[in-house]
C-alpha cells in the first residue's frame, strides 16, 4: 500500500488535537497584552515559518472551549475592519493548566524521541 499525503495529513490532524490548545495557552501565557484570534493565529503561523502544521481556523473553536472552561477570559472591542473582535487573556487557572500541560508535553516528547530514534534503554 502506497503511503500518500492524505495519511500524513490524517496523522498530523490527530497529533494536533491537544497540541493546538497547548500552543494557544503558551502564546497567551507569554503575552502581556490581550490578543484576539487573528493575532494568535498569525503568531503561531510566524513561529511555524513555512509549511502550516495546522489550519488557523482550528484556533477559534479551541479559544472558545478554553474560554468556556474558565481558562481564558475575553472581552469584545469594536474594530474598524470587520465585526467586533474578541480579545482573550489567560486566567490563573489557565496558567496552572499550561504549567501542567507543558510538563506532560516535555515528558511525552522525550519519551517519543527516545523510542523513535531507537535510543530506548
Amino acid at each position: 500500500m502506497a503511503v500518500d499525503d492524505s495519511q500524513a495529513r490524517k496523522f498530523q490532524k490527530e497529533l494536533n488535537v491537544g497540541l493546538v490548545a497547548l500552543v494557544v495557552l503558551a502564546i497567551l501565557d507569554r503575552s502581556s497584552d490581550d490578543l484576539y484570534g487573528y493575532e494568535i493565529a498569525k503568531r503561531l503561523q510566524r513561529a511555524n515559518a513555512g509549511e502550516a502544521l495546522f489550519k488557523e481556523g482550528t484556533v477559534y473553536p479551541v479559544l472558545r472551549a478554553l474560554s468556556a472552561g474558565g481558562f481564558l477570559t475575553s472581552r469584545v472591542k469594536p474594530s474598524t475592519t470587520g465585526p467586533p473582535r474578541r480579545y482573550y487573556r489567560i486566567t490563573r487557572e489557565g496558567r496552572a493548566l499550561f504549567a501542567q500541560w507543558s510538563v506532560i508535553w516535555t515528558q511525552t516528547r522525550d519519551f517519543v524521541d527516545r523510542i523513535v530514534q531507537g535510543d530506548e534503554r
Binding site: 484570534g37 493565529a41 502550516a52 489550519k55 481556523g57 482550528t58 472551549a65 470587520g82 474578541r86
Partner: protein, 304 residues
Amino acid sequence: MSRPAPRSIDDYLATLRAELAGDDPAVIQDALYDAEEHLRAEAAANPHVSEAELLERVAATYGRPEEIAAGYRDTETTVARALQPPASRRLASPHPLSRFFAVYVDPRAYSSLFFMVLSLVTGVAYFTFAVTGLSLSIGLAILIFGVPVFIAFIGIARVISLGEGRLLEAVSGERMPRRPIHPGRSGTLWEQIRAMLRDARTWTTLAYLLLMLPIGIIYFVTAVTGVSVGVSFLLVPLVGVAQRLDWWLPWGDERILFSPRWLDTPVGWIFCVVFGAAVLTTLLHVARGVVGLHARAAKVLLVT
C-alpha cells in the same frame, strides 16, 4: 462533495453556512462569526491583494470551509461531552417515586423556577424596549435621524437576544450562540437597513421581545402561586402544633382558624404535608419542563 472554491468573503461565509447546514444553529452562528472576524482582519492586513487571491491564501492558512465545519463539529461534540453532567444515573433510578422527587437535586429545576420569576421583570423591560423602539423608528422615519434610531434599535435588540440566549443556556442547558449575529454583507447604509428589514430574524426577535410580557406574567403568577400554596400547606402542622401548645405566637391573641376544621387535626396535617410537597415537586417539574420548551422555542425565534 466538492464545491467551487469561494472567490469572496461573502462567498466563503455562504459556503461555510452550507457546509454546516443541519448542525446546531448556535454553532453555525459562532463559526460564521469567527470566520468573518478572521477573514476581514486578513483582508485589512493585506489591502493590496485581490479578494479572490486572498481567499486562495485563506484556504491554505485558515482552512477550507469544509475543514472549518468539521473542526467546529468535532470541538463542539468533545466539549459538550466534557461539560455535560452525568444525567443518566438519575434517570436510571428504578422507583417512579424516587424519580419524581429526584427533581429536588436537579439544579436546573431551581434555575428554571428563578427564570420564571425573573421573566416578569425581563418581559416588562423587553416589551417596553420593543414598543418604544418600534414607535420611535416608525415615527422618526420621515426625518433623517429616524435612520440611526432604527439601526441602534435593531442593534440593541440583537444584543438583548444574545443576552437572553446566554441566560436561557445557563438555566436550561440548551446550546445558544456565544457570539452575536455577524453583521453580514457590508454595503451602504441603505443596503444594510434593507437587509435588516428583509431578515426574518429581525421580526422574530421583535415578536419574542413582545411576547415575553404576557408569557412573563403567566410564568411569574404560576411560580409565585405554586410556591405560596406549597409552602403554606407544609406550614399547617407547624402552626397547628404551635397554637395548641401556646408557643411563640406572633399574631398575639388572635388564632388562625382553619377551614375546613379537619385540616387542623393530625390526619389533616398529614394531608397538608403530602399535598404541599406534591404541589412544590410538581411545580419544580413544570418549571424545568416549561423553561426547557421555552428555550427551544426561543432558539427558533432568536437563532434559527
